[in-house]
Symmetry: C2
Subunit: 420 residues, 2 copies
């Protein structure tokens, strides 16, 4: 048994209502899992050296459940454009470049490093339609031991010619991708229809068959904007709601279902999302940047839906999930301001819970530092000024609002120290 | 004549409609002022060494027209609270600490360093009611040569007892502050009534007399929230609008008038603001955090009001004005989304102009790199990835959305290189 002990101020969110904070705590890690968080080092470990981080915070690593890996190359650019201009001038041409594996190699390498730099060790990631480039990202994630779902994107209609697949080829390539990526310890393939308007019913039903055959989950965008929701209704008139398209295809039965944005859910969507334990992913910066709106996060939490956080690179600016925690709180206030009916601010604890434990729930025991969870953790320092006292919770909040990766002084994944 | 030449990609906003960008440009600086931006180094300077920054961007330093210096100590904390809780539990107790000059010394020292770190060389800054502590900030700004207006805060009603001044004492202390801070080259005192509800009419009129006697400007908060605007109307029923309170006291006649937030201006406010060339200061992160709303920036620009940018530390998270440029664009999109009537997104160029030249307009020739302006400039590097080409404008945009102070590799103030 491999045992390590780390001392510091341990902070995590076991439940969405509050943060747990333990100052001067010893976190005992056995074979990569948290055994316990204790005031005193137990007798049985008396001989072990304690790695002492002093007053630094030890928190769970972040879970980012919505990333477009290819868009990492365009982060922070074209952000004052309207959505259709941003897609036409930046996003689609960028995605087309991933036909070139050498290019994909460079971008995906930079992204994976940046994820680790910012403390994101658990992620659900879109690539592009290109199977070979998608394989490159898959292998890079696996090599670094990150916990991830990733899948090649499917789209067979309503997309630029140069990114539009033939239905049969899309399904064939997807099956090949699934077959080639079975059996990895931490990374798993996931079905990734881009969003309903770019997928024919035939394609979605075909993906449903693959979901069953390979016991595989799904990630996509859901009721992301008023225009998208209306367009989907027009394209799929026989479904009671957008989520029903995926449900009836059998896509919600075999793995995690991860729906980005969920800004305009109908009552029927909520019912299916709850029943299927699908995760709704709040990407606050991104949906503001593309003028889609703001997720009704408080209402979804109240409806007992699992809600996670995503950066949505490149509509979001960078892989700092902690900044999206701050943004989720901030935009919940604006949402309640502009649309008071049914909306209210979320708390910092709720947002932190969403970005750690809730997002981590689609993986295996990650996103918290409760006993039994993997020691996927970050050590944060330099947050308190020397002229004022701050509680651990206040330091964590400051990190999310005003800190950056320089505050992350150590990173642990499955109990091993890693660096970008 | 002291001449220096810097080579790089020079980017600035001479007008709000567009950025000017010159790659491989030589910027000739004579005695701290920009002489010219040229493709070739002129014959007359052939003997001078050119400081070559390669592909790095050379941009004007930032102007932050709304900062609460004391709140630097509470940045990024209590951000999920409602406004009254945030004031009661964080802001007012924090301000009270500035009765202690040793405390003020530490906080203001850290703030001034952080302003320089983030490239803010021009600022309009609130302190607290404490004259001695306010003097400390004034001297620190002057010692570093920053361009600033700062003044002790006035409030004589509707504030916690421990922060409430007697009217006569408030005026006497203010006059002393004005007298003691005449004749500095770059820092000037400014009248700082906190906002209308915490100031009696007698106090505001008294400040108006001081404005005339010392030819002094004013900074305050204006129509910041629905509640504040309504409260002010109740307290000052005889005025046509909130701006009229300051106008009729003679506060808009002698120096810059700097109004933070301006979220709910009436037609009468706009008329006075335009006539007096008062500057409205957009603090997007801050007014979202305190649930005040979003400034109708596009509408104010269209009404030809001068509009600048502020971080509003500590309702805003840190002194990075560049991040508020990004946020101003982002929140203008949300404003247009939630309240389409009369609102539209602003462009990146407009937001950058606001945060440099428009904000700089209350000082002497700062905020641009046009000939005749002071060489108050930042050099930015590390913004383009090695796998993709980016225009200078795109690099600048990425800096504002996703960069940080590590991208600022050199800082010039009046032509001298400085560091935090």
């Amino acid at each position: 048994m491999n045992v390590s002990i780390y001392r510091g101020t341990v902070v995590y969110a076991a439940e969405k209502e509050r943060l747990a904070a333990f100052s001067g705590a010893n976190i005992v890690v056995e074979d990569g899992f948290v055994k316990n968080v204790l005031k005193q080092v137990p007798e049985e470990y008396a001989g072990l050296t304690v790695k002492d981080f002093g007053d630094a915070l030890i928190i769970p690593a972040f879970s980012d459940l919505h990333i477009h890996a290819s868009q990492y190359a365009q982060r922070g650019v074209g952000m004052d454009k309207l959505l259709f201009e941003w897609l036409r001038d930046y996003t689609f041409p960028q995605e087309a470049k991933f036909a070139d594996c050498r290019y994909a190699e460079k971008v995906y390498d930079a992204l994976v490093k940046d994820l680790i730099r910012h403390g994101t060790f658990h992620a659900s990631i879109f690539t592009t339609i290109h199977t070979e480039a998608s394989d490159i990202l898959f292998r890079k994630l696996a090599e670094r031991g990150l916990y991830a779902y990733t899948g090649k994107v499917n789209m067979d209609c309503n997309a630029p010619d140069y990114l539009c697949e033939k239905t049969a080829e899309s399904l064939r390539d997807t099956e090949r991708f699934l077959l080639e990526h079975q059996g990895y310890a931490t990374v798993k393939p996931i079905l990734t229809p881009r969003f309903a308007p770019t997928c024919s019913e035939k394609l979605i039903k075909g993906l449903g068959k693959l979901a069953k055959k390979y016991a595989c989950g799904v990630q996509t965008h859901l009721v992301e904007s008023i225009a998208e929701a209306a367009w989907t209704k027009e394209l799929f008139p026989d479904y009671s709601c957008e989520t029903a398209i995926y449900e009836q295809a059998g896509l919600l039965d075999y793995g995690p279902s991860v729906f980005a944005h969920v800004i305009f859910p109908a009552r029927e969507d909520i019912t299916i999302l709850r029943k299927s334990r699908s995760v709704s992913v709040h990407c606050p910066d991104a949906t503001a940047n593309i003028t889609a709106g703001i997720m009704p996060a408080a209402a979804l939490l109240k409806a007992e839906l699992p809600v996670a956080v995503g950066t949505d690179i490149g509509a979001g600016p960078n892989p700092a999930v902690y900044r999206q925690i701050a943004r989720a709180v901030q935009l919940s206030k604006l949402k309640a301001f502009f649309e008071p009916e049914g909306n209210e601010p979320i708390s910092f604890a709720e947002a932190f819970y969403m970005a750690t434990k809730a997002g981590g729930s689609i993986f295996d025991r990650v996103g918290s530092l409760e006993p039994g969870y993997r020691f996927n953790a970050l050590v944060l320092d330099g947050l308190a000024d020397d002229f004022s006292e701050m509680t651990p919770e206040e330091q964590l909040e400051r990190f999310c609002y005003a800190g950056d990766d320089r505050n992350i002084i150590a990173r642990y994944l499955d109990g091993r120290e890693i660096s970008p």
